[in-house]
Symmetry: D2
Subunit: 363 residues, 4 copies
């Protein structure tokens, strides 16, 4: 496969540019018989829609999805599901100023180096708008996983230096930052106002907890579940670090404190702690899976920046228009859907691991 | 492909168990005409060989590699390169005690859940010995990359809580920890003695710097160079977090300080800083690539641990024999070779990105 | 990848049902900088369009393609090219009669067995209309190959028992059968009138000649160029046999007559004959590539046929409406575009085969 | 994946040259718990072993296989199965004469064009000996399929112009040609003596019948079961045409005679005829699968042949030594094992096609 396809059995192939006619996704390998509606996908897209608070870009897009194939009488048919979202807010003229200049922190320069030229309108294919296709595709994965009793809780655990100090799942949807802590949300609000006043931006951390995953999912070597999550999350534009379970903290821990003791609970093997984040040797162990993604500050800031043009002339660039001062809130659903795609794929792949179960299947 | 193959154009397929007859690797897609000898591979294997200092396992293995195919008259032929290392130190009897008991921090339980049973001798396929095959395969990738002027510097940046405070590349090979700082190496030595006296283990951090990578390598969406590095490094058994460039620090940074300004130097576009770690939008920008992997403490410790048997009986396990008190020093070359495999693959894939260069190629 | 994607570097992912909202394709891996327009694709789609003669279905479809991404200012950008064709002639009501009955020679029964149910409108995903997406994607491959001087001549070499006895390339476009022989076209016309009068259908043979392919393309084992052509052509719904070069005739030949002698011509190695069809050991040898696909008679015939319902009731089925009495003429362009996809992919893959050329590329 | 791996879930990766140290295969994705022994694989290798009759090459090889990984206590573990066969009969000196000359009908010229040079000893990687690795890997697939009640009957249906006129499955193993007709075997023997007296060679046809395949296996578009069989069989060195069911005959048939009527038998849907060869729309229909491969005459003949050297000098080549006058008998098991690999892979892939069955699996 070329590199716009993700997954091996449950796959998405995404396409579309920030200011092209439309963006979309083809989901292939989704099992037949899954009830799904446009609305099931739309609720995910709405979570990343622009214009919902003063802390996100004002771009005017309704982001209404259409399902063009693969669903018949309300159920998936097992054949490819094609979905499409039209771009409404083209305004290509706005981008003429950055046509010939490399924006710091963006992919303008590297695209030119790779392809010889680029669609300079709003970042083209390298725009964060590309994640819209992932979210639509991942929404189908989430719908599928819900049938197997798998549940996601995804949220911002920090916005810039402001960290959530408590965890209230109800709170996540109540503030514009997806923080699980109302008091942290207030502090984040104040911090962002400060950033915006300085024409600056900030980063943050997104956490994803996955419950209900059966033990045994994932492969022992290159297909380790944590390796696939790492690829999935690091493939999201602004993510620069990925952690599983205790993550970076393990490097300073001792074996005696980092190992999770096993015990029996209700007749099942469980772990007394979960430093491992639900994955041992690349394979799920039945406890909660915990992922963490570190998101960089929005590179589009309206402070003057030193850069060069595509003909090698040094210059100063001031990016106009309003941009998200922090990407984190809109990226929460992207992390969730990417994680769902990994898990859907790995659950399907795992079905072939044991002869006894295959024999039973084909009996 | 199934999950024991890594890469798309320059691939390795690994096989072998800790205490089986042998371990090995098939390298496929290596270009024809590359000069390579057994010795070129052996120097990499020697960097991860057991028994080299008192801080690594005493397992007695010479780990001599044989090249069985794909090389003719000292050069690669373009067909698969098969390499094999025989296991000498089987001693399967040692492992009878853990046959029915799940070791904390290991994959015993998850293997049983996935496959219904497991090769319990020394961890079987989930043993760290599996990385031997990766190192042999990645050595070929390193040999290939060296022909294109690409250079790796890989080292431990911390051992447990002891961090390197200075960077002397000459020092890396002089101490048993691969630390680039002689004074830190002394402190690490003291810290490890303490761990060993407590029958405990510790973790650490491995960094990899890659120089000489041309701009334009990597793909914009799922094949982002950083996403592939993340998968590659997180697929190494004990790694629980991966960072690119400033990594986790970006989440607290502001856009104005995190963006790298562009400038001209000797007629080429360069960056004045390198917070991005050499990758923008998933594509290399020509500056040094910087990767960081956080390694957990060795799970095999000789303290008594609470666990359960495979029939659900709670029990206490004390692991005997000598194990590495820290995995980091032997994992340094694994990080380097996995990174090399990603890069070799991406460099080959990139050759098809532009029509003008393809036309020139086929003229 | 799941199975709606074809190729490894130059790939297409197709989607869409016969009577869904639309059909389409995502082309991924097409090099940047290729000039392409909607019209370049449309000419290929027009070659398979229904309603062009009395020997093809009367279904009323304009089959106008839209390019939604991956092309900017008239050139490909190197990112995915999404194309879409709306279905106009839904008339779903017509299909209610076959909703519960398995049409002989069709995939109704096997779809139900695989997926548990099916989109019964016009065959859904198993309809020949699915090839529209392939043709749109393959048109881009043809456009790319033309830049490298590669030329296709594809035609019907027989319609039922009527075989072309002469070869006039100009004639192919002049008759409704794509026969390269005007006299055979007249006979085919008479034969088809007879079939239609009997409410029956017939098959035929499609040949594809490819000129200008450099020597060295294809891989030695599973990626043999002929193996990939075989998969590509056999994946077209009605094809039941594929031949390369002398094809089935080789089984009765002797080595002395089947081997192609080598000779020098204008300083280049050539073959004095071409029994091999331009491929030796799976790799192109620089002479004309010759492929042949055997197409079965249209299974939709209006004679009464014995069958069963999806509840296991024996019954007699008479298919109404007008169907192509022979698929061959509209399948010619499908064979050509599938062959082009294989070749485009293999040409890109081949660029990584030699170190000396890679070194030159990255100099 | 690169091109020495075949399959997606049940895969083989092959390696080795005709006159290298060894040849081998890595089987990945084989389910855990399959009982398998060296002997199970050896019986397949023995079917293609040289030196068994006067109609095959006299090369002296015992072809004893060793299993190096992936099997523990007599059962597969679910991890890669590595197998190896040492080459005993190197005699590299014999090949010095063809080092610089292109043998007609061989891949010498195309390898040089692709890779710049080649391992000229006995054809290197392009030798028919490469199929040994496929047979070892496919033997595991056959072992797996036998657990699901799937049975293969593979035989020569013709040797040169001599066709089997009757079908006695017991006869296949009794004559050196694998013909199912004793009288045809006598004629084939006479014909081959004639060929050998003329220093010439001949081709033939191999048929494979597969019984016990459940309906519903295969995918509707590019993963059609027949397309995958076509790739698999055409990837065998000497095969130049592949047919499914009625094969080439369909092009002259009418729809009314080519369609297979459905009927009920013992409560199951069956077909009254099997022109389709057990596959409808790319998906198995539960009846016998029928494949046919046309094999070219051995290109190595001892008649003088016109050719050129690798420096462009015209010359005459006379190949010495004894070569198989017909490849067919030894290729029978190659066809069978390649078909088994396709089927094993497709059976595993099919397990994910329906939500209801997945839900049951994960209950």
């Amino acid at each position: 496969m070329s590199r716009s396809t993700f997954g091996t059995r449950f796959t998405i192939t995404t396409w579309g540019e920030s200011h092209g006619e439309a963006l979309g996704v083809v989901v292939d390998g989704c099992p037949a018989g899954l009830p799904i509606s446009t609305e099931d996908v739309q609720v995910f897209l709405d979570r990343r829609k622009p214009g919902k608070s003063r802390y996100v870009t004002a771009r005017n897009e309704s982001d209404q999805v259409r399902i063009l194939s693969g669903v018949f009488e309300g159920k998936t048919t097992g054949t490819p599901i094609s979905m499409l979202v039209e771009n409404q807010d083209h305004r290509s003229a706005d981008y003429s100023r950055i046509k010939d200049v490399y924006r710091p922190g963006h992919a303008d320069y590297t695209f030119d180096q790779k392809y010889g030229f680029r669609d300079y309108r709003g970042g083209g294919r390298s725009s964060g708008r590309e994640t819209l296709s992932r979210v639509a595709g991942g929404a189908v994965a989430c719908r599928f996983l819900s049938e197997l009793g798998i549940r996601f809780t995804t949220y911002a655990s920090s916005i810039g230096p402001v960290r959530a100090a408590s965890f209230d799942p109800e709170e996540i949807a109540r503030n514009p930052f997806c923080l699980p802590d109302a008091s942290a949300a207030e502090k984040a609000s104040a911090y962002l106002e400060e950033c915006m006043a300085q024409h600056d931006s900030t980063g943050g951390v997104i956490e994803c907890r996955i419950e209900g995953v059966p033990a045994g999912i994932g492969d022992p070597v290159f297909g380790k579940l944590d390796a696939l999550f790492a690829q999935a999350l690091m493939s999201i534009g602004a993510v620069k670090a990925v952690e599983i379970g205790d993550g970076t903290a393990v490097s300073e821990a001792k074996g005696s404190s980092n190992n999770d003791a096993f015990a029996m609970k209700d007749g099942t093997v469980t772990k007394l702690t979960n430093h491992a984040g639900g994955i041992l040797g690349g394979i799920s162990d039945g406890s909660t899976i915990l992922l963490r993604a570190h998101v960089k500050p929005t590179p589009s800031i309206s402070l003057p920046q030193q850069t060069v043009s595509n003909t090698g002339e040094p210059c100063t660039l001031t990016i106009e228009g309003r941009h998200d001062p922090v990407i984190v809130p809109r990226a929460v659903v992207v992390v969730e859907t990417m994680a769902a795609l990994v898990l859907a794929d790995s659950l399907l792949l795992n079905m072939t691991s044991r002869l006894d179960r295959i024999r039973e299947f084909y009996r």
